[in-house]
Amino acid sequence: MSSEDTGSDAGRDGRERPPKHGLAGPEPDERPHPKGRRNAQGIRIDPEVEAQHEPRRAVFSALVEDEPGVLSRIAGLISRRQFNIESLTVGPTTVEGHSRITMVVEETEPDIDQIGKQLGKLKPVITVGELDADAVRTELVLLKVEGSEPDKVHAITDMYDGQTLDAGAETITVQLTGDEQEIDDAIDAFRQFGIIEIARTGYTALARGNQATAPGEKPGTADEPTRPTNTQ
């Protein structure tokens, strides 16, 4: 409809009324509008300080109550909020009924912040935090390769401080540990033999030295927090 045929109309009470369908007032383009903008993360764009939010890798460690469905709650949260998860490991801790989950994600800074906060809201999550870059971290891989050149396979396994777990006429299975780069290098080195299968665990990690792995933990004691300390 054009503005002509929606002109003002006297109402039942004789008052001047707006168009039949719609409201009166300056049109959108007649209104002043600030030049400022926000970026996709809702941060005001300031050329001086605006940070580029490139995805980066973050390792989270969480202490959780070992109750049924805890893994599915965490996996469900990650998937429904569309966070990009690289690996997740889980195992018992020094306290009965607690598990430690180590999770590697690749996300932008604001999303990494969200992952930690959203995980922290889950009832079975006792405490969760991102590990520092210097945290001790390692991954385990099982490699099954063709067994036609056992001597060479053993030599490469030794070179990467690995162990042979199974050796037969057809296949050899070795175990290697290390950081992601070491594992990647080793896998490349084993390709010459023909890799049949690979199983990788993804990172598991602990904070270095006396630092707490997850907020509120007390390194050097067997105690673990049963509730998080308030942090802001």
Binding site: G42, G69, L77, R227, Q232
Partner: protein
């Protein structure tokens, strides 16, 4: 529940929850079910909404001897919405019950609705016996699996001795901090199972305790920023009402002379007839609220999650403003809009902290004047030509004028909801009961039932509904008749699923696919068939008298207002658009 939970210390006295009068006729629990009901009674639950069914029968059997008022609903979705609305009006978690399988899945929409609006609610669902779980038994559904993404937490009860404590914990969790729905799935062998254990005091889990008091250093910084702001604007969200912080919010705004915009769930946190109030902002918010958001240099947001229907495109949202964000949920900080000054804590507590830290009100005379100018420039007004069908806005205004300030309005979702929020002047918290985040058509009527039971007897409850929404949960009318509930339903009937029709006309070149509802029944006659009173109104002259008659009738009544089918909702910020560029007519979209 959250209003009592201002500080962790204050909630440490569970004794105060126990009704001393109940001790005389107290019979110890002998089954899991009785323990469940005792847990509800201990927590002071007065009403529950539900539908019977095989797996929940033991719980209902235990309700037989309880003083809890059970409202038998006609459909589980209605039970969830009624419990939700009961909780909104009482500011404590509402309780709903359903059986396993379809009973539980029918609750899901209502649970999701409560989750999106942070409404405290406890859902109790029956489940097949433990040893049959996983066998695809009759009426078996993985209820905890289905509802995990929609609840704060859910529980699968596995022991008659602890099931009462589990229910108590779930109820306490639902109301703690940022409220939300919780669910306890109750296998039949657990509820039938013998126990001699009474549930203890209901406490939320150790791992979920929120922070109530904001970091004092951060408060000081935020206070300085407020003092020096030129164009400060308060944005009150639903969290202000849920935190029972409307008194603090009102005195904060008035003492400092800061204009107020609310979100839709925040309607009622600040009186809309106050000079400082610019009503609510967002897609169909007032032009002046959206202008204020667009031009503020300091947005003080309290208890809001910056939903996309509020912000429009984030890139153009409050583009000049620094943001102070007060919220009890740390995960809302910088989730959608970056918070320059985050203050994590309870809304009332943090507003008091801020108030104490501010020495001088900001110098905002010019800004207040500017906001007043926008009110004059973009009035919420409408034409009422006699030769055209009834305007819905007129109906809403007549209803508002005919009722007291504390009248509770419930709505469905769509055009009628927008008119009900735009043309009714809300002045009190918990008088606006609607479905915001999930946008659940059909919320209005069952919500009116829950609100009626929660409200004071002298409070009116009006459901402003659309023809499409009304049809979705119309079976609830039988409940209102049976329970003799005094509610007035005003159907703004345009024989369209109107908001869709509006969008089709604006964005789909008028192809009104599946939006015409000209097969609607005669709602006035249908109401009479249900045993309610019914009227049909087509003309302006009949509106006021019919409204008076319906309000005076002590029972459920339905007025079918046949309104102008061409009427659209304005202002409108197109999806993802800039708030300040709201359209006033269709050709501006």
């Amino acid at each position: 529940m959250s209003k009592q939970a201002r500080t962790p210390e204050e909630e440490a006295d569970p004794e105060s929850e126990v009704d001393p009068g109940a001790a005389a006729e107290f019979t110890p629990a002998t089954t899991g079910s009785e323990s469940v009901i005792h847990a509800l009674e201990n927590a002071g639950v007065e009403a529950a909404f539900g539908v019977q069914g095989g797996a929940i029968m033991p719980v209902y059997d235990a309700l037989y001897h309880s003083d809890i008022r059970h409202v038998t609903m006609a459909h589980e979705q209605g039970a969830a919405h009624a419990a939700d609305a009961f909780g909104v009006v009482r500011n404590e978690p509402g309780v709903c019950l359903a059986t396993s399988g379809p009973g539980a899945t029918n609750l899901v929409t209502g649970i999701a609705d409560a989750n999106m609006d942070s409404d405290g609610m406890l859902a109790l669902t029956g489940q097949v016996p433990s040893d049959m779980v996983g066998s695809d038994a009759f009426q078996e559904t993985d209820t905890t699996g289905v509802t995990a993404p929609l609840t704060k937490h859910n529980y699968f009860a596995d022991d008659p001795d602890s099931v009462g404590d589990t229910v108590g914990e779930a109820l306490a969790l639902a109301g703690e901090g940022r409220p939300g729905p919780t669910l306890v799935d109750l296998p039949k062998d657990i509820t039938l199972g013998e126990t001699d254990t009474e549930p203890g005091p209901a406490e939320p889990p150790e791992t979920t305790r929120p922070q109530y008091v904001a970091d004092e250093a951060n408060v000081e910084v935020a206070a300085d920023v407020i003092e020096s702001a030129d164009r400060p604007l308060l944005l009150f969200g639903g969290g202000v009402i849920k935190a029972d912080a409307t008194d603090e919010a009102r005195s904060f705004a008035r003492e400092l002379g800061i204009p107020v915009v609310t979100t839709m769930p925040g309607i009622g946190s600040f009186p809309e007839d106050d000079d400082l109030c610019l009503s609510w902002a967002g897609m169909h918010g007032t032009g002046y609220a959206n202008m204020a958001i667009t031009h503020t240099d300091l947005l003080i947001a309290v208890g809001t999650r910056f939903d996309d229907r509020l912000t429009g495109g984030v890139d153009t949202f409050a583009p000049e403003a620094e943001v102070i964000h007060v919220d009890i949920d740390p995960a809302e900080i910088s989730k959608n809009v970056y918070a320059d000054y985050p203050l994590i804590g309870d809304a009332g507590t943090v507003l008091d902290q801020l108030d104490g830290a501010i020495d001088e009100a900001p110098d905002a005379d010019e800004w207040r004047e500017q906001c007043g100018t926008w009110k004059d420039e973009y009035p919420m007004d409408y034409a009422t030509p006699d030769d055209e069908p009834l305007k819905p806005q007129f109906v809403v205004e007549v209803l508002d004028e005919a009722t007291a300030d504390d009248t509770i309005v419930t709505t469905g979702v769509g055009q009628h909801q927008m008119w009900a929020s735009q043309y009714w002047t809300y002045t009190e918290p918990r008088t606006w009961v609607s479905s915001h985040g999930l946008g659940t058509m059909g919320y209005g009527l069952p919500a009116a039932i829950g609100a009626r039971i929660a409200a004071d007897d002298d409070q009116e409850v009006v459901c402003i509904d659309g023809d499409g929404s009304f049809l979705m949960t119309i079976q609830s009318l039988s409940v209102a008749v049976r329970e003799e509930l005094d509610i007035t339903v005003a159907v703004l009937n345009n024989e369209y699923i109107g908001m869709v029709r509006q969008w089709q006309d604006a964005f789909f070149e008028g192809r009104r696919m599946a939006a015409e509802y000209n097969w609607c029944p005669e709602f006035d006659m249908l109401a009479e068939a249900f045993g309610a009173r019914g009227w049909r109104v087509d003309d302006y002259d009949e509106v006021t008298d019919t409204v008076a008659e319906a309000l005076a009738y002590d029972g459920p009544s339905v007025i079918d207002f046949h309104i102008d089918p061409a009427e659209n909702v304005y202002p409108m910020v197109p999806s993802g658009g800039a708030n300040g560029k709201f359209a006033l007519t269709e050709d501006q979209l």
